[in-house]
């Protein structure tokens, strides 16, 4: 029976909540399906002293650990901020290093654990498991490999999409490393842009733009939407089985990016003469300008007049 330990570091618990809300099969049946023993600090109960004993057994290798799941950013920079996240007086970063070196596979659950996430802002100087934002390194270092010879599997997202986590656990329990992209995230889930499948796509196509909340138009040109630049399956596998932020009029904030959260304001697109400085991934500026000029002229009335509700 494979074993998995979930560790929470500088976390909000959002990835746990996302995991708890997975679609069919629901979490208890999913664990049965994989025959997986999961130890999770929010969901399990231990008798007095048993959790400390479990951690000690895993750290000192008297018990096997197939999968280590880490949620939240890691406070390890310069050793000082480690005191801002401790378990019974010991920095969690030190515990994680030991566990990671023993685990068959290590999965970074959510953007914070992957890259440092919101922990890069403010006073705490957090890092990710194998990345420090864009730069390889992080807590474990670029050369780190788990017992199976794998790098950390990054599952970015704030929070992680439950289906992505569900699927990755399936692969890992079959002892398969999913094909990873250049930030060590599974290609199958992070090879698609948020823009693909967005219900505002046609508005983008004809350049029918919104510049305030509450409309059905495209939010890329003025409102800070990063959907055309962000690799994530939010509009392929809907959230909570129902919807996505962009469909609901919330710009994509690029929460799967290694550099999330961005420096500039979230609800504003930096642009020159109404054309965003950053264009959809891989697009040539001159061609894009020509195409968008013509597309705007060709926009049908039903879009220009915003007759439909997204």
């Amino acid at each position: 029976m494979p074993t998995a330990l979930w560790m929470q570091c500088g976390a909000c618990g959002g990835d746990t909540m996302s995991f708890l809300g997975m679609g069919a099969p629901h979490l208890p049946d999913f664990l049965k399906e994989l025959n997986l023993t999961l130890w999770h600090p929010s969901l399990n109960r231990w008798e007095h002293g048993a959790y400390a004993q479990l951690l000690a057994d895993l750290r000192y290798r008297s018990r096997s650990l197939d999968i280590l799941l880490v949620e939240g950013f890691i406070l390890d920079q310069s050793g000082e901020s480690g005191g801002f996240d401790t378990l019974q007086g010991e920095p969690k970063a030190a515990i994680l290093r030991q566990l990671a070196s023993w685990a068959g596979a290590v999965i970074a659950v959510g953007t914070c654990a992957c890259f440092g996430g919101i922990g890069k802002l403010g006073a705490v100087q957090a890092t990710g498991l194998q990345y420090h934002h864009r730069r390889p390194g992080g807590l474990l270092g670029e050369q780190f490999r788990s017992q199976r010879g794998w790098p950390v599997i990054n599952l970015p997202g704030c929070p992680v999409h439950p289906t992505v986590l569900q699927d990755t656990l399936c692969a890992v329990c079959e002892n398969r490393l999913p094909a990873l992209n250049n930030h060590q995230a599974p290609e199958d889930w992070f090879g698609i842009l948020v823009h693909q499948g967005c219900t505002r796509n046609e508005y983008h196509e004809y350049r029918v733009e919104d510049s305030d909340f509450g409309g059905p138009g495209c939010m890329f040109f003025h409102m800070g939407c990063r959907g055309p630049l962000t690799y994530a399956p939010c509009n392929k596998v809907l959230w909570n089985g129902r919807n996505s932020k962009t469909n609901a009029g919330v710009p994509c904030f690029g929460c799967t990016h290694p550099d999330f959260p961005q420096e500039h304001p979230f609800f504003h697109t930096p642009n020159i003469v109404d054309v965003p400085l950053e264009l959809p991934d891989g697009v040539d500026r001159a061609h894009y300008l020509a195409y968008k000029g013509m597309a705007a002229a060709a926009a049908p009335d039903r879009l220009v007049k915003r007759k439909s509700r997204v």
Binding site: G13, N44, H48, D85, I118, N243, V250
Partner: protein, 503 residues
Amino acid sequence: MAKTVYMPMNRVEGDLEVMVAIEDNVVSDAWMIGTMFRGIETMLVGRNSLDGLVITPRICGICSTSHLLAAAMALEDITGTEVSPNGRLVRHIALAAEQMQSDLRHIFLMFAADFTGKRHADHTLYPDMVRRYQPFQGSAVVSTIVATKILPELIAILGGQWPHSSFIVPGGITSQPSRADLRQCRLLLGEFRRWYEQAVLGCTLERILSVQTAKDLEQWLDERSEHWHGELGFFLRCAQAAGLDRIGQGHGSYLSGPGFVMDDDDQALDDGGGFLHGDVFEPFDQQRIVEHVRHARYQDHNSSGHPGEAETHPLHAIDPEKYSLCKAPRYNGVPAETGALAEALVRQDPLFTDLVANQGGSVLVRALARLLRPARIILLMDKWLGAIDADAPYYTPAAAPTGGSGVGLIQAPRGLLGHWVQLSGGTIDHYQVITPTTWNGSPRDDRDVRGPIEQALVGTPIRDPEDPVEVAHVVRSFDLCMVCSVHTVNKDQGTLGRLRIGM
């Protein structure tokens, strides 16, 4: 130099440790030790005024909608923005849905798991406790996991996703739910209601809402087999068997923030919050909040005061005197408990007023307040869904706030939540958040008065100091957003051991 401010401890994981002293099998003293600092508020300083709508939901994955709403209201407070009526209704619906998922997951996934411990094994109900509450397997656990997924679905229809959306903005919401969307929401609410009535209550919402006194509750329990064997009835029997009606009384001061305020004539909806200390009630006034840091790991200079002014400078070094990374908020200078029970008492709910008069604010009463809260909320949600005019706007165009100070205060799932913001030139100069867990889990204050949980622990009889599960019951009854470690200290023997309470 940029101002830095403090960050609350409100999360789902092990960021809080409890230390108790046990003398003659009774807790003689207790300390709540916040062990983590994320510095969320410091992340906001210097950023655009609207950026709190994206950053602050990330404070908490369980109540991200609550933070989002408080952040938007703080900005609206600055500009005086009027929210569109539809926008208000949708916000209320989303907040209520978030509250109910939190309440039920807390009771059946987090709180009740402690009944499965070997300490309760000698009780006749024990086999049934395990059958219902065993993590990942118990019947109540599985049924709660399945049923509570419905509520985030409902929020996603309105706001895109749960958790961590940013669909609430000054002036309303970003989406325009159609009639079809609203009908879907009503179907989901109906599905959730059926589960709550059939599996949890064993009766209708109307029947349970007619229970107005402790005696009524006893009669209700005996009335039918569905009541006796339903999750509520069983939980009550477990809690009584475990003596949870006799432990966990705190200071007896209760604080509740502005709740679901609506512009209509229904008094039940118009809940402005308040402070109840003994028999004395005062309407809520945020000016009366002050934070203390004498026992919190922050520089003394400038770190105390009203949250609109206080700064936060965390200290690296661990100092026995400054034992927590939680500050100590006080109302009128005294500690106050917040959450579902405080909300019910401030609202003068007859059942909870009677229960507290009879047995004090016990662990059982505190948990029961959470377990029964959905009964009222489901009916309100249904009414709000019906009140939305799908042809009217959900958003009133609002000027972006540029300068000034604002406050956003709401009743979040775990109690009073406040955001204080100061802006100039369109950017954030100062941001301060006080979460419900900061109130309940606070350390001692400048006058050495214990925080609410610390106080509630004192006097708790501990049958086996090697396995002080009673401590877990008391701490958990406050619905802290975290996993705790309990260090038990016996005055004669030094440290005995540590108990991790799996949340």
